[in-house]
Symmetry: C2
Subunit: 550 residues, 2 copies
């Protein structure tokens, strides 16, 4: 079988220290990969660039919450019920499959199974009925019975459950954005897309909180004429942010702005703009929490268009869910320009009736009744210790009063750009991989941008002569002390050393030769132009700091 680009990249990645299959010496498990020395550095560079877009450019704040998450949080967020894949198991060999992977989408699951149109892809025997399987890894906190928990399916819930504290940190002003970078988990039934379908992955998410009636962004005007690359499930087209919002192709400024920030980030990182587009989710595709979602899709020669970022309008879904589950005040406040006098209906409990009727529960019920916001007065009920109690009409009066309101409470909406960092890393490798022939042999170049490249400068003495070696080691040390990642190499011909650096994406190489001893100059070679120029030793640090945009 001829190698396709994915095979070539994964082989290069393993041979040169970008990516290793996890637990390989123990037979490996699908859905887990290790980042080697170069891969870790590339991933760090991607995350740092992402931070510079979201923290420094967009003024977000960053938080960091545990990967282990209490069952109650994910029950409230809907993940316990909704974060599932429809799965079938084989009667005989007990293997499990994701229905989507093995059943052609022209036929429903029920049909396929009923008519025995589909058998176990491994052993050929009958499959059992399809059932949803939750995709969260579960675990238990503490000894004995402990407390049920999951590994988080997204970093977002750690942000939502702290909303009230973060809102206070931001001096109770909207909009503001909160980012989190860290691990997410998805216990895939049987992942089959290598690096692109991981069970443990790195995410970078931003949750930006807005007044639902004001989904604008203060930087929108400065980018409104820029073009987004959209795909409406029929054709691809370019359109300015302003036009896309005016024509309601994108629902609001905020969503359009974060789409542009995403595009700008990915193209700056080195994604190929011809293999980049936004695709809008159809209503059937939307996650349980989203009202609108655009995927950033990147094109892979093996896998086709792959989602790397989802930019969703989660509306007030999550904050409402946590308010409903905990009764904690997670509202924002909109101050009126001047106080308003409004009519409010209040429940006044009659304790002389409730006391004998509800006995020891009467006090609790009274407190709950007084907090109820009366709109529909047909039936009044409260929840006490998990029990729903309907309150007979003779237990209370409804009184209308006037109150002076300084503002009104509301639940903010959330715009969420959610990045799969591992996929971005993979696509930077695929989109920047080039093969040429050199002296009849295959020659590989990874054209990573200088900012993304794990190693910035290769440093070589032309030959093993101690004088040259000492100078080269000095240069190496000076660059490292200035924060420039280097790779010192004195093995093999200069050609082979250039080839090693080209293959791992190092943008520059320095060679110390005999002329260096005479005139204090070295050769600096550019990976992409292969041009070489002589440069004074004393200029090297500042030259690279400039070229690397420090």
């Amino acid at each position: 079988m001829p190698q396709d680009i994915y095979d070539k990249i994964m082989m290069l990645a393993k041979r040169r220290g970008y990516i290793y299959p996890s637990f390989e010496i123990y037979g490996g498990v699908a859905g887990f990969y290790d980042y080697g020395p170069l891969g870790s550095q590339l991933k760090n560079n991607v995350e740092n660039l992402w931070r510079s877009f979201f923290l420094l450019k967009d003024n977000c704040i960053e938080i960091n919450t545990p990967t282990i998450t209490l069952h109650d949080v994910l029950k409230a967020s809907g993940h316990v019920e909704e974060f599932t894949d429809l799965t079938v198991d084989c009667e005989k060999c007990k293997r499990s499959y994701k229905v989507e992977d093995i059943i052609n989408d022209n036929i429903s699951v029920e049909q396929a199974l009923r008519k025995d149109k589909i058998k176990c892809p491994t052993c050929g025997k009958k499959l059992k009925d399809a059932h949803p399987v939750n995709l969260m890894f579960s675990t238990t906190i503490g000894a004995g019975e402990g407390r049920a928990a999951f590994l988080r399916p997204e970093t977002a819930q750690g942000i939502f459950t702290n909303f009230h504290l973060l809102y206070r940190y931001n001096r109770e002003r909207l909009p503001f954005g909160v980012i989190q970078i860290g691990k997410g988990y998805r216990n895939e039934i049987s992942p089959r897309q290598g690096m692109l379908r991981l069970r443990e992955f790195s995410m970078a998410e931003a949750e930006v909180f807005f007044d639902p009636e004001d989904k604008k962004h203060h930087n929108f005007d400065s980018v409104k004429d820029k073009e987004l690359f959209l795909f409406d499930n029929e054709k691809e087209f370019k359109i300015s942010l302003e036009e896309a919002v005016d024509k309601k192709i994108i629902n609001n400024q905020a969503l359009a702005y974060y789409m542009y920030l995403t595009q700008d980030f990915l193209l700056s990182a080195g994604v190929d703009s011809k293999k980049f587009r936004f695709r809008k989710h159809g209503s059937g595709e939307l996650a349980h929490y989203a009202t609108e979602c655009w995927d950033t899709e990147l094109y892979s020669m093996r896998f086709g268009w792959i989602e790397c970022v989802g930019i969703a309008d989660r509306s007030a879904y999550d904050l409402n869910a946590h308010i409903d589950s905990t009764n904690v005040d997670m509202y924002a406040m909109k101050k009126f320009d001047e106080p308003k006098v409004v009519k409010v209906k209040k429940i006044v409990p009659k304790m002389n009736v409730m006391g004998p009727f509800f006995k020891d529960k009467a006090g609790k019920i009274k407190d709950l009744l007084e907090k109820i916001d009366v709109k529909d007065t047909k039936k009044i009920s409260v929840e006490v210790d998990g029990e729903i109690i309907e309150i007979p009409e003779n237990c209370y009066e409804i009184v209308e009063t006037k109150e002076k309101m300084m503002g009104e409470k509301f639940v903010p909406h959330v715009i969420e750009p959610s990045f799969g960092i591992d996929r971005v890393v993979y696509f930077l490798l695929e989109h920047n991989y080039a093969e040429i022939k050199k002296k009849g042999e295959e020659y590989r170049i990874l054209k990573l941008t200088p900012q993304m490249a794990p190693i910035k400068v290769g440093v070589f003495p032309l030959i093993g002569d101690k004088k040259l070696v000492d100078i080269a080691k000095d240069i190496d040390k000076n660059l490292r002390n200035a924060g420039v990642e280097t790779y010192y190499d004195d093995g093999g011909t200069i050609g082979r050393r250039y080839a090693r650096m080209d293959e791992i994406g190092t943008p520059f190489c320095i060679t110390v030769d005999h002329d260096t001893l005479e005139d204090n100059t070295v050769t600096v070679r550019d990976r992409d132009t292969t041009q070489q120029e002589r440069m004074k030793l004393g200029q090297l640090v500042s030259y690279f700091q400039k070229r690397l945009e420090f």
Copy 2:
């Protein structure tokens, strides 16, 4: 109860956005904390400083492996058997306790339980027998039966299981160091020390591989006269690295060097040198994998001396364990200066005897016999498909031959500095916290170093005048674009704004006032000296880049 320093710090941390208890709106769980906006930034600064010590100064390489780890890996490493706490459960209320927490160390567990000297601390009833409980969080990969896995108790195993690939990456030369920064997990029975006893924590570990006969470090000479702060379990004393190694107080140069690197890192980060020491583990305290270990202990006013870093000589323990479990070649090679001719004993199987005797297993047994390194010839046995088969003497001959050896294989030893990042973060807060009285009121200052401080510069317009506001916002933006974290604040008196910045550890504040409109200067205030100086607008960026050691 009067607040002690821990309470004060945790209150400040929550109020100002350093640290929040996790899942608080769902009642919380001991052993989990969230980093708020300031805490995340401080933690990032600590990790980046750590990276600069280990990646740039010490030339280590970095890798990144999953937190979910296959059972087989942790079985081999000894964690399944050894990573336990002796635990007792209550017969009545079923609560579990770590024996160490509830039994006085003057009396053995058996004695305490037998004599009913100790009762359940919660309900007062009888406790059951003590038993070891494993401290790893367990989970399952995949649907159905799946594969058993744990959340990693340390990042180190991800490095060891890749040793052969990393050794190749390093061009098969020793020594070299590999770092990993990421989450570690320990399912504590009932953690009671707040931030200092987490169930999910951030670690930074370095595994440095050495030739066991050459545990030297190439930078040792440059630091050999520096002093380490040691505690020998009786007294504290200072001693130079060289003397400590010469007197065998510390076993080898490599260990002493990494102790110094650790000390240098922690003191640079802002740990109080008077609250810092290294304490050597007694033989009874050593982890199952260690032959020597020094803890870096930091002093807390509430908790006393607390381990923050362990610097262990893990010898060849882990690599041997993985070689034994997988038979993968994870050796290093020491090349001889010139080839040596050595006598070797080899087993020559007699297939005419073995064939009829072992039938279809004979071929496999032959292959295994030929690989055996013959030292003790009394009994020869091999393992085939999990069965140990003893080989009768008439099945083989032992032949002595001469072979030309180019070098010899050995299993490298490992020196491991392992940092608990959350503890470092907590101690930076405690050691840098100061209270003074100002106008009769309590005034709090966090004296974080400029490099560690989450916010570097507060930017204030003196009053809400649009002209001043515009200039202040411009300064804020320019500093952020230059990578300097700022906090723009136009609320309240200047005194209150300084106080807010002092309390969160911001080293500098800029105030724009009416003179700014005249002469383009602003006031720059230094947190620690409270000195104010006028400075030109155009100088600000370069001034702060210098003060912040960019």
